[in-house]
């Protein structure tokens, strides 16, 4: 039986903590697998590593322990009360496998080297067959293009002379590729998606997937927009407002980071509709909402004889509870892909992302069908 490692960048954040608590709780038989797509009967035959076979580790710049974060999440209603105490031993062990993340001042070449060694040691110490690195860190500001991004040679040259050319997320992506890990980007940050890093990934045969987990408002959009399209109803405008609390919200209070997020959210509608309606979109940080998120969308559309009609929806979700099971899915799926000898962007995982790498398909049901078909092609372990 294969052993698989999940290495979380941002391992003490809300999503990573929820994923680790949830995996431990599932392994202990304490909770059902609600929210995990890989636990659907339709995927029961897929040769995926078990949730209880995953060893967790990660990088984080935060130092609060996993157990403490889990208690905070329980107080917010994300994790059942009592669970952190029951799983105290597992959480302590997992916390011991979290290492310091990349610091701002650190020379980037050195940082990449250190992170790469961390990943290799993790694999060796735990005898892991595969390691999947998942970026769960806070969203970065939009990445400014630089000449050093254009090719691997240019990038290596810049790093060699101590230039600070990579966004932080790309340091981890570089390390993941160097260490022979699979790489998944659950955030809108750059990660592996620079020409230089993709060149390296191609060289090493890296399996990767991304970008930006599709968990809430965008998820709904990718089923509603096709509905309008299939019925030949013309969407005139699609306005959205997102109220976010917590760390995610705070990061997004920074206009540049918000911009990065908004770009990711913007991609699907024009693709699904075949034209670009007016689509004002806002993200607000509302502190009191904690781990919760409320999105309101207002769709104005036109029917027969030009009659205008509207649809509104309000989505009130807990982002960590929506994201964590998908992260576990992605660890299993990317791990299995790597074991099956695949490489390059896993377009069949577009189902999970706002900006599906390697695919232009945003329609949820088609993405789901693609996922099921692809899962059938995985080598039995």
């Amino acid at each position: 039986m294969s052993r698989i490692g999940a290495w979380f960048v941002g391992a003490r954040g809300s999503v990573a903590t929820t994923a680790q608590v949830g995996a431990a709780a599932m392994a202990a038989g304490l909770v059902p697998s609600t929210g995990m797509v890989t636990e659907l009967p339709l995927l029961a035959e897929a040769p995926l590593p078990g949730v209880d076979e995953i060893v967790f580790g990660g990088h984080d710049v935060a130092t609060v322990t996993l157990a403490k974060r889990a208690e905070q999440l329980a107080a917010e209603g994300v994790i059942p009360h009592g669970l952190p105490r029951i799983l105290a031993a597992q959480l302590e062990a997992a916390d011991g496998r979290i290492l310091p993340g990349a610091e701002d001042g650190e020379p980037q070449a050195a940082a990449i080297g250190r992170l790469t060694r961390d990943l290799r040691r993790f694999r060796d110490e735990h005898g892991l067959d595969e390691v999947v690195v998942v970026n769960l860190a806070s969203v970065e500001p939009v990445c400014e293009p630089q000449p050093a991004h254009a090719s691997l040679d240019a990038l290596r040259a810049a790093l060699a002379v101590g230039e600070h050319v990579l966004p932080t997320s790309s340091l981890y992506a570089f390390a993941a590729v160097e260490a022979g890990c699979a790489y998944v980007n659950f955030t809108p940050s750059t990660g592996i998606q620079l020409p230089a890093l993709l060149e390296l990934a191609e060289e090493r045969g890296t399996v990767w997937a991304g970008r930006d987990g599709k968990t809430g408002e965008t998820l709904v959009k990718t089923v509603l927009a096709p509905m309008f399209a299939m019925r030949n109803l013309r969407v005139r405008s699609w306005a959205g407002t997102n109220l976010l609390g917590g760390g995610d919200g705070a990061a997004l209070a920074d206009p540049q980071r918000r911009e990065a997020k908004l770009e990711a959210k913007d991609a699907c509608l024009p693709s699904l509709l075949g034209y670009r309606p007016q689509m004002p979109l806002h993200i607000d940080h509302v502190e009191d909402m904690g781990e919760w998120k409320t999105a309101w969308d207002h769709v104005s559309f036109e029917g027969f004889l030009g009659v205008g009609m509207t649809m509104q929806f309000t989505w009130q979700g807990c982002d960590s509870a929506l994201a964590a099971p998908l992260v576990l899915d992605l660890v299993r799926l990317a791990g299995a892909a790597q074991q099956s000898g695949q490489h390059g962007p896993l377009d069949a995982l577009g189902f999970y992302f706002k900006e599906p790498a390697g695919s232009d398909e945003h329609q949820l049901d088609r993405q789901f069908v693609a996922l099921l078909r692809w899962a059938d092609t995985l080598d039995p372990r």
Copy 2:
């Protein structure tokens, strides 16, 4: 080039009037085909009769003229102001093809005979290749089962002795089958769906489709419910309230008719989810809403670790504007099916209905794929 007839039961109702005005306006190049699925590029190759090739006629117990109804609908914002005047000649002609519907006191055998003759004459007078009868009349109370419904012999025997055994919608369905027409039931009424009539339809090789057009709240349900299912999110409850004005609302103010409607609306969720959540559902007649309809749905669902979340939506639609283009679609599709020599229930048209005859599939995108595939099989004319 083939000519096709559309025969509307309830030909002076809101939907039928909107369909006739819209078809005339499209034929005159005055409006685009928004809302018509058969006008999507994906169906451009399908060998369907043109909207301008359809001759309209119908039955109705109402006597207000089509032109007058069109003016009323313009005042309600369903039809652009000015259009009824521009299309006055066409509407007058169409109105002349509307004959008196079945009266309550009329012996049923006689009524069926009369309606059948009306249909035959319509086809002959206009030299039509095919006639599609579409039920657009107000919803009936739930039909009580009767022994005479069980077989064609039993039904004929009962009718022969003057028994009043059929709901009104079934008189028209009987006539449609007798006259060799295709039959489409856009309402939740019984129509052709009695064993005795299905036996007759089988005998005659009738093409038919139904039941109850999927135009608003249910349409949305059939894309949202699969979203929850694909993501393994458990729906705990799905509550709905529908506020309806106009004639439709008034008919539904009658508890028995409402019951019929609610049953139709109830079918999809358990099928789409694979279990039956709590699903309280209300229909209210709110007079001031006129031709408009507002539905509010509240979905309570459970994610990872049992976290409860909610989604709400409000749909504000104009039923006639949503239904009329679909009715034109169905005339074209059922007409083409008949011309292709098909018979029996057209399960490929499940895309259009709340209770798809001949199919258990409620998921909108799968229904759409099935429709496209089926359209590919139609014989070129």
Copy 3:
């Protein structure tokens, strides 16, 4: 310093438990007084008993302990986790003061006698200056009028011969009046509001208030409807749907009890608007909502030149968290009224009720002004 007793009918229900936990937590300085109107600066001068001067007791047919109920409410998010444990001693003491409620089989005269003795003993044992009985029990079915309700003599005669003529809530009201307590009805049940009991209350100079706490949807109505009226905007229809979980919801799943509730909710709009718009109103029991309640209201209104517009609102409240502080308010206010020598219905407390006894005023701000003015007239203790 005066001592005051609060006697809850339904003392182990959600509202009563929350009120007792909250009072204890406030007395211990653990929580602020959010939600208590009597703690507003505007009422700081009113000569009201302190929250920490209230001794709690009550009747209930349920036997689960207060501590256990408090834990359940903490699990539902109504009470902060940890609080029940900290207040364990107080809750145990309060639980010891809860006595068995009236049983269905018990002769009514005997029940009234027993309940009256319970109340007297409570006052004597704890040396209380005033006792306020508050009805917090589940809503009863609509009370059928009976000849025995018409006068005190008729009622006494019927009870004397063992007739079962009173709804249960009226047994407690009878006992409250007999024992010289103030009486507050926070539910839509009958309570004191029968001619026979009002006669007795008049005789004894009882202070009383009611009926049906105004905590959510109706609260909002009583500020929005005046807004439309003040702006001369004509409300055409006001539709409402209420989704309720928990015990309240379960009780209301019974159509007769729901009827009682709906009647109470129906009173305010025609009074506030001066006419009766269409106002369909639903209450649904949705189990998974637990202690939470969601109301959706859709208001269709008409402005200048007959233009139709709409307003919708969704209220997502925790009924116990809304009701409990108001119950503490009412204990203080009714206790102070009794001490001031007042008697009869306290129309100045209409601010708290859906069906304000002794008043036709439903407009919230006018009710608030009346409350403040009345509080100024209370005798200093």
Copy 4:
């Protein structure tokens, strides 16, 4: 009987056109007075000029005729179809009284002189007892403070040397004061509210009122926020999104103008609550919404024991239909005030404004009571 003139700045805009069409339609007995507060029975005794006694005129830079604008508004559903044709004569006459507005290049002293002469001629030609100038022009960018604004002398000196120191709205306000008219500012623009102009107004005994009509989202806020305050419920955040079409929306697409509007909208909550919750607020221009406006507000609040709850509302209004009758109210009220010999800011008209001049009161019902009391003090004519 007194004759009164209403002089609209922006006389061909949506609000002004609707007001003029509505007044003519009311005078002709074609429509009821829905939406006009001065037509409430409570104000029946107030000595106000009749709607049919108002002569309309105004300035505008637009040249499309009133009749044409009325037709456009009818197509948008703001004005009943057919009305513009019936009132063609009145609209043509009113259009003849609309003069060219201030041009950007025009020296400001000259512009003020011209506008003043226009106002005087209007009064003289029509033998008007009073003229009320109402600013209904598009919102201006936030006005930058200038030394010339500080005193009348400074302003006159600056204008004398040809400096361009006043925002356009203040040119009209200056002219209104000079010409002895009452002045009402229904927009968030500066208008009369500069120290220099207030000095002049004081000198001349001008009656004036403002600022920014309270017609939709803010109106609702000023009844809901007091509800939370009266119940001692703590508002944690109040987020709002406004989707606006039409000319108003287009003007607000300009960030600086939007800023001016947002400031006006921002004023009420902190005043009503006594503290400042988080309150992200957006205004989006959504072209397809035409004359319609949709606001969504999300209120997060805290009750007893810190329990968090939410309320959301969606307001779908037609701004012109809401504003026009209030404009007619203000003409009548300001006219009557002037005739009663009042001067200075009419704080009793705060009921109508987002930023009530001369008052800190934002609570709608208190504003209404103040209006009624003030109306009682008006001299009978």
